[in-house]
């Protein structure tokens, strides 16, 4: 385990029937650190993310938060430890409006125990305006909203509630260039606030720009960890493809 780490994953494996999606993955994220998780399609990134956010348990291995082993039986457990996730496939209920999705699972109530719709609408509106000032018409079913607006809801809700570890599984996949830049800004801002971020992305240039460390996953195994400052695009790409590092002289180890 790494000293002072926010979250440690130790020897995580995951099996789906006959498919071994993860074969013993170690990973840790510290506060105020952006760790990028990269790898091929099907490398196991999303599976790892879902284990860390409590969607399903690992087949074996341990999750530690602040050094203490924890077991998540549901996503709300992970949330109790201030772990928030923005999923690759947007996890919004299409039939509900933005405030309802924003507060889903932790609704505000009035003194009498009823939904405090007014307050929720106000807070959601403010939080969303922080991300995108043009996003005002929020009280309609999210089915009618654009990919960028939906992503804004997912992001806003993840960072609104005292998050310590933010997991972002390809947060910019559905976004245009402008929104992508906004997300990059946001990542920097959150990092400065001391939040740990686990970022999954296929855009190696982005990753190099935003991350402190880069962890490469291949066929369910960690095949390398790089410090973003000391590496370059070619090296990362090569590691993703071949699963090993280039020697100083360019030969394959």
């Amino acid at each position: 385990m790494t000293d002072g780490a926010l979250v440690d994953l130790v020897g995580i494996t995951k099996q789906f029937g006959g498919v071994r999606a993860l074969k013993g993955v170690d990973l840790s994220v510290r506060s105020g650190e952006v760790v990028a998780l990269v790898g091929h399609n099907g490398a196991g990134k999303s599976v790892l993310v879902q284990i860390l956010s409590g969607v399903f348990p690992p087949s074996s291995g341990e999750i530690r938060v602040g050094g203490k082993p924890v077991a998540f039986t549901s996503p709300s457990d992970a949330r109790l430890y201030a772990i928030e996730t923005i999923y690759q496939t947007l996890a919004l209920a299409d039939n509900l409006d933005a405030p309802a999705n924003f507060f889903l699972g932790r609704e505000l109530r009035t003194r009498f125990g009823f939904l405090d719709k007014k307050k929720m609408a106000e807070e959601a509106k403010k939080a969303l305006a922080d991300l995108n000032p043009n996003f005002t018409d929020i009280e309609r079913p999210v089915r009618q909203m654009s990919g960028g607006q939906r992503q804004a809801i997912a992001i806003a809700r993840a960072i609104h509630f005292q998050v310590q570890l933010l997991i972002m599984d390809e947060p910019t996949a559905a976004l245009g260039p402008h929104e992508t830049a906004q997300v990059a800004e946001l990542i920097k801002r959150l990092r400065a606030q001391g939040i740990g971020i686990l970022l999954i992305s296929h855009d190696v240039r982005d990753v190099l720009r935003l991350a402190d460390r880069i962890v490469v996953l291949k066929n369910g195994e960690v095949v390398g960890a790089l410090t973003a400052r000391d590496t370059n695009e070619d090296e990362v790409v090569d590691m993703i493809i071949r699963g090993r590092k280039l020697d100083a002289d360019g030969a394959v180890k």
């Binding site: 299409d94 039939n95 609704e107 009823f114 309609r140």
Partner: protein
């Protein structure tokens, strides 16, 4: 269409339909507007209506409950078997069937939300399981309760302002469920379940617990409907009271509850219940028999489903 997409606001098309039907029925047949007939129409909808309210909740959550008709029968038979003659037995004859209805709902809910069973087929299986059990219990014979207590009889018979108590019970349930569905966390979560169950789970909604609760509500309401039947007739042939799930489902769908979940309101189901009650009443006045009414119900259901799916496809 905003009506179909925003679950807790706006007037859905069923209300104008109801208004037109009532006016039409009044013009078409003189006896329709007599106070006695209006009370009859109101009461006619109550039993099916209570069943339909429960099924609405389950369907908003994205699932079906076709075991309700059997639960109605179970509760009616059980209430009479408990022979509600005095105070204690009356309370028992109301509470026990309702509790058992809750248990049936619990089993349905576990099967559907915990084990992931197909809700239509599972609840049809449950329907036959319950009907068989009840018939076995009474060996297929009539059940009757002699000298039922006044309190028990008054559930369905007593009137206030010329309208039976059971109608007030129904209206009270409509109001209560409307508030629950649109103003409580539970209601919000049921809508989320029907919208995207995986999204709800990831957002921290206790989907299994919420889903089971929808089935338990449905089971308890169906049982309450059965108790009201028992109070109304006092003597029944168990094989004769069944099939309530179908008109109830028709009302639920007619009220605009989406077959895929996430959209619908208890009050709209109530409106649809009156629509069906008016149609049935007019058909009875015009002397159409049960088979034709069955046929018409099937047509209404099909038309309603077709209409709403067309409307949704358009928006």
């Amino acid at each position: 269409m905003t009506a179909a997409s925003t679950p807790w606001r706006f007037v859905t098309p069923i209300w104008p339909v109801l208004a037109v039907l009532v006016i039409g029925a009044a013009l078409l047949s003189g006896p329709f507007l007599s106070p006695a007939n209006i009370a009859a129409v109101l009461q006619q909808g109550v039993i099916t209506g209570i069943v339909a309210l429960g099924m609405t909740i389950v369907l908003i959550g994205g699932q079906f409950d076709l075991s309700t008709g059997a639960t109605v029968m179970m509760a009616a038979v059980l209430a009479l078997l408990l022979n509600p003659a005095d105070g204690t037995s009356t309370v028992l004859a109301i509470l026990l069937p309702v509790a058992l209805g809750g248990v049936i709902g619990l089993v349905n809910g576990l099967a559907v939300y915990r084990a992931g069973a197909n809700s239509i087929v599972a609840t049809i299986g449950m329907q036959f399981l319950v009907i068989g059990a009840v018939l076995a219990l009474v060996s297929g014979q009539h059940v009757r309760a002699d000298n039922m207590s006044e309190m028990f009889v008054s559930l369905s018979r007593a009137r206030f302002l010329g309208i039976p108590y059971s109608v007030y019970i129904f209206l009270g349930l409509v109001v209560a469920l409307s508030i629950i569905m649109s103003n409580t966390v539970f209601g919000r979560h049921v809508y989320a379940l029907g919208g995207d169950i995986e999204a709800a789970r990831r957002a921290g909604v206790k989907v299994v617990r919420t889903g089971i609760a929808t089935y338990m509500i449905s089971g308890m309401l169906a049982a309450l409907a059965g108790v009201l039947i028992a109070s109304l007739v006092g003597n029944l042939d168990p094989t004769a009271i069944r099939g309530y799930e179908f008109p109830a489902l028709t009302a639920v769908v007619l009220g605009g509850t989406s077959l895929t979940g996430g959209v619908g309101r208890p009050a709209d189901t109530a409106a649809a219940i009156w629509v069906i009650a008016v149609i049935t009443n007019v058909m009875t006045i015009l002397n159409y028999q049960y088979p034709v009414q069955l046929l018409v119900q099937g047509v209404v259901l099909t038309a309603a489903v077709a209409f709403y799916s067309w409307q949704r496809a358009r928006s």
